[in-house]
Every structure is written in C-alpha cells, then in structure tokens.
C-alpha cells in the first residue's frame, strides 16, 4: 500500500510542476486534473475513502468542469499564449521561488525529525455523516446559506 502512496505522491508533484510551467491554459487545466486524481488516491491510501471520492466528485468533477466551462466561454486565443510565455521569464519567478524554497526546507526538516508512519485507521463515510449532522450541524446549515448566497449573487452578477 505504501508504494501506491509514494507513486501517486510523485505523480501529484510532477503534474503540479507541469501545471505551473505550461503556457496553454487548457494543458495546465488537464495536468491539474491529473494532480487532483493523484491526491484523491493519496487520501484513499491514508484511510479516508470518503474524502477521496468527494475530492474527485467535487473538485475534479465539478469545480474543474466550471474552470473549463469558463475557458470555453472566454476562448482566449494565441495572444494569451504568447503573453504567458513572456510572463514565464526567469526574473519574474525567481523571487517567489526562493521564498517558497525556504518554506520547503523548513517543512522537510519538520517531517524528518518526526516519527510518523502511514495511518492505519479508516474513517468511514458513516462516521463523517454522524459527525456532520451531530456536533457540526451548524456548519452544514451555514454552508447551505452560503451556497444560496453564492447562487443569488452569481445570478445578479451575470445579469449585468
């Protein structure tokens, strides 16, 4: 099982690198979908099957579909691709990369000095349901109001 974890972790990292280095937005979206699927497999190996399924259904199946939908509607052409190439020049990304590299070194140091193994407890779907509609029910109701607000807001913004 741990080989599945490491393999999908590698796929996730590689496809995310591809996402940030592509100049064509649709290619970047495709690699992002691959990285989401890899993360879902990672969730499954860590003992969260419901989270894995929901990641694919919601993130890769709904949110990315909307990204692609918006891409199809805007239909940016070759000009955007050339602009992206200009923006990918080294002197733009070298600053943030150095800062992010410092964070990465900190993270790796923290991980190496702990004694963690891959988890063996499975969080079943039932437990998530019981938790959501038990102690955390207010979060669910607030979520529905938030979704309603998003719905009405999007409608009025679209009318403009």
């Amino acid at each position: 099982m741990s080989i599945l974890f490491y393999a999908s972790a590698l796929v996730a990292v590689l496809s995310t690198i591809m996402v940030i280095t592509r100049v064509n937005v649709v290619h970047a979206l495709l690699y992002f979908i691959v990285s989401l699927l890899a993360v879902a497999v990672i969730f499954y190996t860590l003992g969260a099957p419901m989270a894995a399924a929901l990641e694919v259904i919601v993130y890769a199946g709904a949110i990315m579909v909307m990204f692609l939908f918006v891409m199809m509607m805007l239909n940016l052409g070759q000009r955007t691709i050339d602009q992206e190439r200009v923006w990918l020049s080294p002197n733009i990304w070298i600053g943030p990369s150095i800062l992010a590299a410092i964070l990465l070194v900190e993270l790796l140091l923290g991980l190496i000095t702990t004694d963690a193994t891959i988890a063996h407890t499975m969080v079943e779907a039932k437990e998530i349901g019981i938790a959501l509609f038990g102690p955390y029910v207010l979060a669910v109701e607030l979520a529905s109001m938030l979704l309603l607000a998003g719905l009405v807001g999007a409608f009025h913004l679209a009318r403009k």
Binding site: N24, V26, L30, P49, A53, I57, V65, L68, E124, A125
Partner: protein
C-alpha cells in the same frame, strides 16, 4: 488467482473482455434492432445475420486516415477521445456481476461510479474545445451543459437506495435486495436515474451534443479514424455500464426473481445478471427508436425544474419512511 473470487486475474480478464465484447456487439445490436423497430432489416449481408459487420466497422475505424487538424490544439485533441472509454471501463470495475465475479468491491463503490461519470463530461468538452471549429465548440458547450445538468440528480436519485441498504458498496446493495428488489419502494428514483443515465451516455433522446443534422456532428466533427471510434465505443461502454448498473441498484443484480436459481450459484448469478443487462440494453435501443429529440431549452428546464425536485422529494419521503419504521 484463477478462480472466480473478487479480484482474481480471471475476474479482471472476464470483466474487461465481457465489457469490451458486449460494447462492440452493441454496434450490430443497435443497428439491427433499430431496423426491426422501424419495420426494416438492419445490416444482414456481412456474415451470418450481419454479425461480421462489427469486424468490418472495427477494421474500417482502425485503418482510416488519422488526421490531426493543424489548426487544433494537438495535445488536447489526442487526449480527449481517450478519456471517455477509460473512464467508462473503470466504472465497470466495481459492478458485481455475480457472487464472486467482479474486479473490486470498493466500500465507496457508488461514489466511484459518480466520480467516473463526472470525469466523463471532460471528454465532450475537451473534444469540442480542441477542435477549434465553431460547430464543434457549440456542440461541446451544449453537451457539457446537458451532462452537468443531468449529473446533479443522478447522485441524489440513488440516495434512496443508500438509505435503504445503508452502504455505498454495490455488492452490499445487491445483498440487501434479497428481501425485495429496490425498484418497488424506489420507483421514482428508478425513473430519475434512468433518465439521468441516458443523458450521461448521450443516448437519444439526449444526443444533442452530437446533434446529427443540426450542428453537423457536434463535438466530434473534426475527428476521424480510431479517435472517432473511441468516442463511439466510449458511448457504448457507457450504455453497457448503465444497463448493468440499473439491475444492480434496482432489480436485484444477480439475484434471481422469486428464487428461481438453478445449477451452480455463479452460473445462475451470471445468467440472471446477463439477462437483466440485455433487457435494459434493448430497452435503451427501443427508447432511441421511439422517442423524439427534445429542444435544448425544453431539455434543460425538464432537468432542473422536474427531475431535481422529484429526486429531492423522493429522498425526503424515503428518509421519513425509514426513520418511522426504525422507531
């Protein structure tokens, strides 16, 4: 390893082989039965009863010119048709075909099916987007709109079954139907799910994305050769997945009606599952022959204003009844 246990190599080969063979044979079945339903014969020249028509079609697909339009987005153009068959074949993996026959029994099997159905809509959208052709783009937009609208209540209509059987695992859902098939308490869920399934696999009367004679061929206008073949095969595999899923969810899967089991348990299970799947495959072909294609706005209104509230009401009523019976 080579026995009929869940997860053995024999199972993988069986499921993959049976799935592919049945999907490919649907090419012939569809044309033949569409002919019968329209009072004419279908293809009957090539081989006995026209059965070799499938081989002829396959050879034609493989050897046709595999042209990638120079004005298209080449990477996406090649990837888009591969998504649909892969995703649909993967959904075939969690379906229990018999007691011990099936590739895998995921404890979230039903959610896996929804995840794969959600990913299938990418094939339509990317195909049209990559083609850089006005008609293809229009077809893929309409197709995407239709698929996502009908995907919403596909999940909600099944929740009644999840309530009744208390599990997402498809094998446990089949086991829970030993005291009565779920189609009787969940009749409206069945109707809604069947409509959603037909929309997801682009079956007529929901084949607006292909739009024959309206927008040339919709999202697969610029596709030729095997890539077009992959779109078609993907659709047929989707149809087979739906026809196998409806018996599993609503009609008892591989359980025999009225206890009419015979012979070996595995053989009996496979027989009944095959019979039910065949029934629904032919039913889908009949629906294609019988119904007219609705207009796009009628389609969308029907989905959002009729099917969605119906599935939600079904869910609430089922929940209330189960809770009342549980005390």
């Amino acid at each position: 390893m080579f026995s009929f246990e869940v997860g053995s190599l024999l199972n993988i080969a069986f499921v993959l082989g049976a799935g592919l063979v049945v999907s490919i044979m649907m090419i012939w079945v569809e044309r033949r039965f569409l002919g019968f339903f329209s009072d004419r014969l279908g293809p009957n020249r090539v081989g006995p009863f026209g059965l070799f028509q499938v081989i002829a079609d396959a050879v034609k697909m493989l050897t046709k010119e595999d042209w990638i339009p120079p004005f298209s987005d080449k990477f996406t153009f090649v990837v888009a048709p591969m998504i649909l068959p892969i995703v649909m074949l993967l959904s075939l993996a969690v379906i229990p075909f018999g007691p011990g026959v099936g590739v895998m029994d995921l404890n979230i099997g039903l959610l896996w099916i929804f995840a794969m159905a959600g990913l299938a809509s990418y094939s339509t959208m990317l195909g049209g987007l990559a083609s850089n052709n006005k008609f293809a783009l229009l077809g893929s937009l309409r197709g995407a709109g239709q698929m996502i609208s009908y995907e919403v209540f596909m999940g909600i209509s099944i929740l009644g079954i999840v309530i009744l059987s208390d599990s997402f695992s498809l094998r446990e859902i089949v086991e829970a139907q030993r005291d009565g098939w779920f189609v009787i308490p969940q009749f409206f869920g069945f109707i809604v799910f069947m409509v959603a399934g037909m929309a997801e696999s682009h079956r007529w009367p929901f084949d607006l994305p292909e739009g024959e004679a309206e927008i040339i061929s919709g999202y697969n206008t610029e596709y030729s050769g095997m890539k077009f073949g992959l779109f078609m095969i993907g659709e047929y595999i989707g149809m087979v997945v739906m026809s196998a899923l409806i018996p599993v969810l609503f009609f008892g899967g591989w359980l025999a009606p009225f206890g009419l089991e015979f012979g070996n348990e595995i053989f009996s299970g496979l027989f009944w599952m095959g019979a039910k799947t065949t029934f629904f495959l032919l039913f889908f072909v009949l629906v294609r022959a019988a119904l007219v294609r609705p207009r796009y706005d009628q389609l969308m209104s029907y989905g959002w204003l009729v099917m969605l509230p119906l599935s939600l009401v079904n869910l609430l009523i089922t929940g209330a009844v189960v809770l009342y019976q549980a005390g």
